[in-house]
């Protein structure tokens, strides 16, 4: 789709998938009122896996990953994240949210706080880290996403790509085990997409468990170890990238791929 | 009045409550001043000076009570009240007494649970019209426009009077005397009705008082006086006898000027001796000092002096004593004996 991914340097060798289960979803269903958004979802994610979720708009892919940290509540079935079941117990929700980082399409940085404050807020208030320590970590993380010089600016003074990298840094400061990406590049200009994807590749190489909703098929091919296609609330097909792109099985997948790769 | 559903629940909830009747006199002594409810401004009776002090005929009653209790006419704080808020302020304990040209009526006494402690001014409702109208009697006022202060007994008297005489009129309610004065002078109403004292006071401030005439009809009795809450007799006695002391003092010829001499040593008149504390322990009966009355007269003057100072013929208000002369002079001002 976009050619910015062609230049991504990916070192597959650094990515390890372990046997430990990070996310286990069993027979999960969700409704918006009368509307059945997610139907019988079953998914097991091992630690270190990088899963790309794609599908037409309204297929429920965003809803799926939002269910994983309880931004949306599922009504039936079971979600276990890092051994903790997501149910009505608020303490469990708090624990899971501390372990799971999430990136949004529209960044959702806090505009009234500086970049550094954005990054230290959650460590200080949720993890109760001392301020100095939190700031030191934040500066390290900002260096990792390559914008330490912006630490004292406000989000509005940054470009879109920089903002999204700050958002990633904000997640990383919490030292999460799993990261969820909800179309992280679709609000960005083409020249900024790459700088965000670079950071994501870096994360993947570091062994992060990642669930990515995206239309960046290049990223999916090079980074993901599994691509998942969703339509009308159900997982239609999932496979390794090579197989998925070159040998799709389901008709709806074929149709979707033909449309999205036609350009 | 029939019991309503509301009342049932309210009364049931209220049964448990006991009546907390603390003595106001004790309270007043404890806090060190008298909280006195007054009007928000009536010429001669209550007004503010440029120095920011309240002054006037009603105000001096408050000061007299403060002197009686504390020996200090300044140990008083004033709460301006409107026609609407005055009784509530008294009933709720916000003020200790009310001295605000309030007419003593049956329903106020009985239904509103207030105790009137005497009369410091006998008034009656009258009418003022421009001389140019050529009206000689209130019964000729058919169809006239009448300015009237709301929130007082005057509007009830007015309605009754015109109804009884079967003539029509057009009431123009106004909030304050100052508004009424402006409206009347501008000709927005033909007649101004209020207590005769108020009429005279208002007329005196006109540029040409002679262009206006006060009609002979006095359509109501308006005994004005200080009042306190029901059921607090010690405090009521203090206020009542403070007023009476002023009256007796005038009757006996005790003035602010000569009270010092007269209180120095017992004189020939035993009542004066009792009053000024040179004989007996009369102050102690009320929980006051022996010479409380002497202090009151020294600080405030006697009734006649107060009258002349604020509203008498030599002031801008220029009211003659009339009904408010001592009984010895054919008036109604009369105090029970100090014995």
């Amino acid at each position: 789709m976009s050619d910015s991914t062609e230049e991504l340097h990916v070192d597959q060798s650094k990515m390890h998938i372990t046997d430990e289960i990070a996310i286990q979803i069993t027979d999960m269903n969700k409704w918006y009122g009368e509307f059945h958004v997610l139907r019988d979802i079953n998914l097991t994610v091992h630690r270190g896996e990088r899963i790309v979720v794609c599908g037409p708009s309204g297929s429920g892919k965003s809803t799926l990953i939002r269910c994983i940290n309880r931004l949306e509540e599922h009504q039936k079935g079971e979600i276990v994240v890092e051994g903790i079941e997501l149910n009505s117990d608020l303490k469990n929700i708090d624990k899971i949210r501390a372990e799971v980082g999430m990136l949004f399409q529209s960044f959702n940085l806090f505009p009234h706080l500086t970049v550094l404050e954005n990054c230290t807020l959650a460590p200080i208030w949720v993890r109760k880290t001392p301020k100095n320590e939190a700031e030191a970590t934040a500066m390290q993380t900002l260096e990792r996403v390559k914008i330490p010089e912006q630490a004292h600016k406000y989000p509005a003074q940054l470009s879109g790509g920089q903002q999204q990298r700050v958002a990633i840094a904000r997640c990383l400061c919490m030292n999460p085990r799993i990261m969820l990406f909800d179309e992280p590049t679709s609000a960005l200009d083409p020249e900024m997409i790459k700088e965000v994807l670079d950071v994501m590749v870096d994360l993947a190489e570091g062994g992060m468990t990642m669930l990515v909703v995206t239309h960046e098929m290049g990223f999916a091919r090079r980074v993901a170890n599994r691509v998942m296609f969703m339509d009308e609330g159900q997982i239609v097909e999932q496979n390794e990238p090579e197989e998925f792109f070159h040998n799709p099985q389901n008709e709806r997948t074929k149709l979707f791929l033909s449309q999205i790769l036609a350009h | 009045m029939k019991t309503s559903v509301f009342l049932g629940t309210l009364a049931a909830a209220g049964l448990a409550a006991g009546v907390a009747a603390a003595g106001t006199l004790a309270d007043v002594k404890a806090k060190g001043f008298v909280q006195c409810g007054i009007s928000t401004g009536v010429a001669g009776f209550a007004f503010t000076t440029a120095a920011g002090e309240w002054d006037g005929f009603d105000i001096d009653i408050c000061r007299a009570v403060a002197t009686a209790v504390f020996g200090d006419p300044k140990a008083v704080k004033f709460t301006p009240t409107t026609g609407k808020t005055r009784f509530t302020a008294l009933a709720s304990g916000e003020i200790d007494m009310l001295s605000r040209n309030t007419t003593w009526t049956y329903s106020r006494d009985v239904d509103l649970k207030l105790t009137f402690l005497g009369v410091n001014y006998y008034d009656g409702q009258g009418f003022m019209v421009p001389t140019a109208l050529g009206v000689n009697s209130a019964t000729e006022l058919d169809g006239a426009t009448v300015c009237i202060q709301t929130g007082t007994t005057t509007e009830l008297n007015l309605a009754d009077f015109f109804r009884a005489n079967d003539i029509s009129y057009e009431p123009v309610p106004v909030e304050t005397n100052a508004e009424a004065r402006a409206k009347y002078l501008a000709g927005a109403c033909d007649v101004y009705t209020t207590d005769a004292s108020g009429l005279a006071a208002t007329r005196s401030t006109f540029e040409n008082p002679d262009d206006h005439v006060i009609l002979p009809e006095i359509i109501s009795k308006e005994p004005l006086g200080p009042l306190v809450r029901h059921g607090d007799n010690e405090w009521g006695d203090v206020v009542r006898w403070t007023l009476n002391v002023l009256i007796i003092a005038e009757e006996k010829g005790i003035t602010a000027a000569n009270v010092g001499d007269m209180a120095a040593a017992p004189g020939k008149d035993p009542e004066i001796n009792r009053l000024l504390g040179t004989e007996g322990e009369y102050g102690a009966m009320m929980g006051l000092s022996k010479d409380w009355a002497a202090k009151v007269i020294a600080a405030i003057g006697n009734y006649g002096e107060v009258f002349e100072k604020h509203i008498g013929v030599n002031t801008a208000i220029g009211l003659p004593r009339g009904l408010n002369a001592q009984w010895t002079d054919g008036g109604l001002i009369y105090s029970p004996p100090y014995r």
Partner: protein, 377 residues
């Protein structure tokens, strides 16, 4: 220029600016464009000029030329005017303002202690500064937080300062006290109400909605009646406190309903993503509200809060109806004084101008804020 088919063109230099034609500049053009642009406009212009000519000169004459500043009473004023301009001439008698100025501003506050309310007022401006201007250092907010206590002791005394009774407080001072206390105290209540109104909990939401709609549905004057005649009934028997305090309580409740609506607007202006991001970071409701939601919502609400304050400040004049002596309430005792019997316009005008100065400058400030907010984003 040229009709030749060759369209290639290179500018040989910058054309220097020249003066516009005469019809585009000058007073004549201005008149034509702004005053006499068409028949209707010309008629409007003439009518306006006639109105101004009829109204303004007599007013200026009455207020300034024939106005008297020094006299002991209304009749004194009349004598001065008669002496200067002849019999039957009318003019403003500003002497009453001259004499009663301090009373209209401070009520019966002891004159030797005027410095205290003045100091309190100046300190108030200083305390407000860090709230209103975000460029100032944050530590100044501690001063703002401590200000109410300082102001209380400055105005009412205590802590070694001479005590001043509530009954002595009046005039503009009273209006400012009621208005400022009302708005400041209503802020936290308004925040809670606004959050409650956004709550998903039906019952809590209902309580907030009923409270807000009730308060906004009745005129302030009925609430003031409640303060003056009913509030004591709602408290345990024997409790009775100061009328000013009761009025402040009622005014606070009144303002908090309006404040809640202003803040609700601020909350609604917030992007939903902010809530989600805070959730995703693991902040709980109170932390995300305190750290993320309120700082942003309040900033957006400041112009609305200033407007609410203007409205409230103007509404403080209603306390005159229940016998408090604010500038309007003081008019009556002043007019009841023998010397000033019959004075009318001067007092009204003075009070009107007094309020106008305050409210107009505040409304300008709120406009400036709104503009700044628009460009800030």
């Amino acid at each position: 220029m040229s009709s030749e088919p060759n369209v290639a063109f290179v500018a040989s230099g910058q054309i220097p600016p020249s003066a516009p034609p005469a019809s585009e500049v000058g007073p004549i053009h201005w008149l034509r464009a702004n005053l006499f642009d068409g028949v209707v406009n010309s008629i409007l212009t003439v009518a306006s000029i006639v109105a101004i000519v009829l109204l303004v000169p007599p007013l200026v004459d009455w207020i300034f030329i024939k106005g008297v500043w020094n006299a002991g009473s209304l009749s004194g004023c009349r004598e001065v005017i008669a002496a200067a301009h002849g019999e039957g001439v009318t003019g403003a008698c500003w002497a009453v303002i001259n004499e009663r100025f301090n009373q209209l501003i401070f009520g019966f506050y002891p004159s030797e202690l005027y410095w205290r309310p003045i100091l309190a007022f100046v300190l108030m401006l200083a305390a407000l500064a860090p709230v209103l201007f975000s460029t100032l250092p944050r530590w100044m907010l501690w001063f703002s937080a401590a200000y109410p206590i300082a102001a209380y002791f400055l105005i009412w005394g205590g802590l070694g300062l001479e005590v001043v009774e509530s009954g002595q407080i009046g005039g503009l001072l009273l209006s400012v006290i009621i208005g400022v206390t009302g708005i400041v105290a209503s802020l936290p209540i308004g925040i809670v109400l606004a959050l409650g109104r956004q709550s998903s909990m039906f019952f809590i939401k209902t309580i907030c909605v009923v409270f807000i709609e009730f308060i906004r549905g009745v005129p302030l004057i009925t609430l003031l009646f409640v303060a003056s005649v009913l509030l004591n009934y709602f408290l345990p028997p024997g409790t009775s406190f100061d009328l000013i305090l009761r009025v402040v309580i009622m005014v606070t409740l009144f303002a908090s309903a309006y404040m809640a609506e202003v803040i609700r607007g601020g909350l609604a202006a917030l992007d939903k993503g902010q809530y989600e991001a805070a959730d995703a970071l693991g902040l709980n409701y109170w932390k995300s509200t305190r750290l993320i939601i309120l700082p942003q919502a309040l900033k957006v609400s400041i112009p609305g809060i200033v407007n609410t304050f203007i409205g409230l400040f103007k509404d403080t004049t209603l306390v005159s109806v229940i016998g408090l002596l604010d500038p309007v309430g003081l008019l009556n005792p002043i007019r009841a004084t023998a010397a000033w019997n019959g004075i009318l316009w001067e007092l009204y005008l003075f009070v009107a101008v007094l309020f106008w100065i305050f409210c107009f400058s505040m409304s300008r400030y709120s406009m400036y804020l709104e503009k700044k907010l628009k460009t800030d984003r």
